[in-house]
Symmetry: C2
Subunit: 286 residues, 2 copies
C-alpha cells in the first residue's frame, strides 16, 4: 500500500488511474481503524479496481470542547490493517495541507443538519461536508463508502452528492458490532471496563424499539419512553437524545405509518465518552 500525503500527488495518481480505465473507490476515515472501517474497505473493493483509504482527523468538524486533541491515533497499525483489507493507497495529509491559515470556503447543508447530531454539535456537519467534498476532489472516486453508524452524516453527504452534482455513487454500509452488540467506534477505547459493560444497553434499547414496532407499537412517545427506561437502568449512561425520525427528512415522527422508513437513533454519554447508534426500519403493515 502506498502512502500519499500531498494533495497534488493524490490527484495525479487518481487522474492516472482514471486514464487507465480503473474504477476508484474511496473510504474516508479519521483513522484508528476497527472492523467497521475494514468492512467499508471490503465493500469498496467489491465494486472498484483501486481503493483509496483516507485518514484525516478533521479539525473543523470538532467543537471547541470536543475530543479533537485526544482523538485516538495509531498510523502504523492503520496502515497495516488498511493494506490487509485491500486498500492500495492511503491518503494521509497534514492539517496544513488541507487547510491554509485562512480558510473561508465551506459546504453547508441546511435543514437536515439542524437536528440530532447537528443540534448538539453546531458546525459539525459543515465541517464534515467540507472535508468530504475536498476528499472527493482529491481522490476523484467513482464510488465512496460510508458507514451507517453515522446515519445523519450519510444522509447529509447523500444530499450533497445529489444536489451539487458530484458524479459518484455512494454506498452506505451496515453497522459492524462487537459480539455483545456495541456498535464499533474508534471512541470505544475511551470507555473504562464498567462503562464498556454498561454501554451494551444502547444497542439493546434499539433492539427493544425494533421489537415493539414489530409487535405493532406505532406511537413514538411510547417507544422512546421504553428505550429511556431501559437505558436508565445503567447508572453510568447519560442520554443526549433518542429520536424516531423519517429517514429522508430526519423530521421526528410522532406516529409510525406502514411503508415508512424510520431512523431510530440515539446519543449517550458514559463519563466523558459520547457514543451514537441507530437502526433503520421499514415499518410493516400490522
Amino acid at each position: 500500500m502506498k502512502l500519499i500525503t500531498s494533495i497534488r500527488e493524490m490527484q495525479d495518481v487518481a487522474d492516472e488511474l482514471r486514464r487507465q480505465g480503473k474504477r476508484i473507490g474511496v473510504v474516508p476515515t479519521m483513522g484508528y481503524l476497527h472492523a467497521g472501517h475494514l468492512s467499508l474497505i471490503h465493500r469498496a473493493k467489491e465494486h472498484t479496481d483501486t481503493v483509496i483509504t483516507t485518514l484525516f482527523v478533521n479539525p473543523i468538524q470538532f467543537g471547541p470542547h470536543e475530543d479533537f486533541d485526544r482523538y485516538p491515533r495509531d498510523l502504523e497499525r492503520d496502515k497495516r490493517l488498511a493494506a490487509e483489507a485491500g486498500s492500495e493507497y492511503m491518503f494521509v495529509p497534514e492539517r496544513n495541507e488541507m487547510y491554509g491559515a485562512e480558510h473561508y470556503s465551506y459546504v453547508v447543508i441546511e435543514k437536515l443538519t439542524d437536528v440530532l447530531e447537528g443540534k448538539v454539535r453546531p458546525g459539525h456537519f459543515r465541517g464534515v461536508a467540507t472535508v468530504v467534498i475536498k476528499l472527493f476532489n482529491i481522490t476523484k472516486p467513482h464510488i465512496a463508502v460510508f458507514g451507517q453508524k453515522d446515519a445523519q452524516q450519510a444522509l447529509v453527504i447523500q444530499r450533497m452528492v445529489r444536489e451539487l452534482n458530484l458524479d459518484l455513487e455512494l454506498i452506505i454500509a451496515p453497522i459492524v458490532r462487537e459480539p455483545d452488540g456495541l456498535a464499533m467506534s474508534s471512541r470505544n477505547v475511551y470507555l473504562n471496563p464498567e462503562e464498556r459493560k454498561q454501554s451494551v444497553v444502547l444497542s439493546q434499547s434499539l433492539q427493544l424499539a425494533q421489537k415493539l414496532i414489530l409487535n405493532g407499537e406505532r406511537n413514538s412517545a411510547i417507544i422512546i419512553a421504553a428505550m429511556k427506561g431501559l437505558i436508565s437502568l445503567q447508572p453510568l449512561a447519560g442520554i443526549d437524545y433518542i429520536s424516531v425520525a423519517d429517514t429522508s427528512t430526519l423530521q421526528e415522527l410522532s406516529q409510525l405509518k406502514a411503508g415508512g422508513s424510520v431512523l431510530i437513533s440515539l446519543a449517550a454519554r458514559f463519563g466523558s465518552t459520547r457514543l451514537i447508534d441507530n437502526i433503520i426500519m421499514i415499518v410493516q403493515e400490522h
Copy 2:
C-alpha cells in the same frame, strides 16, 4: 454546436472527452451573450480542445427584488454567437434540472463575500458559488474562464477552487468595453438612450482614479472623492459604492502602498439598472 439540457448527458460527454484525452474548457454564462462573453470563449479555445459554454440564469443568485424575471434572454442568438466563437457544446439546463423542489446544499465563502457586491446583495455569492461548483461537477473542465468585470465573483471562485481542491485552472479575462468605454454587460440593454450616454462616466471615473494613482496620489479618500465628484456631474447616476481595496482580501485600503495590488470598483444605478465596473492596478514606486 451541440445543445445539451440534461446533467447526466453533459457528464457523460465530459467523461468521454476526457477519456479521449481532450482538454475541456468551460465558460459559465447567464446568456444574452456580448463581445465580453465571446472573448471568454476565445480564451478558453486557446487553452483547450473543446469548449463548453453554459447558459443558465441562476435564480439563487438573484435577490427577491432583483431582475431575475426580466433578465434578457435570446437563446437562438446565443447559440449562433457561441458556435461562431468556437464553442463545441452549449449546456442549457432547465431550472428543475438544476434545483429540485427542496434544495439544501450550498457553498459559502466567508469574509470575501461580506463586502462590495456581497454587502449590497446578500446571498448573491452563495448562489454564485453553488451554481459554479455544480457547473464544474457537470462539465468537468480542465480550465474555466471568467471575466474580470465581476471581479469579486472571480476572487470568490478562485478561493473556492483552491480551498475545496477543485482540480482545474481558472483564467480571469480582461473586461471588454464599448468604444466609449462602457463595460460590456447583458444589462446594458436596460439603459434608455440618455442613461446609456451618461453611463460612460463610470469607466471615466476609473480612468481618473488610475491617472491620480499614476501621478502619485496614495490617499484612497481623495481618489474616491474625485471619482464621486466626476460621477455626480451626471444627474441620472446614483452611486451604490466606490471602493479601493486590496485585490486578494477585498479589505478597504486607506493608503496605497508601492507594490500592492489594488482593486478599484464601483456600482451605480441608472434608473432601475445597476451597473458595475472595475480596474486592477499594481501600485508603482513614485
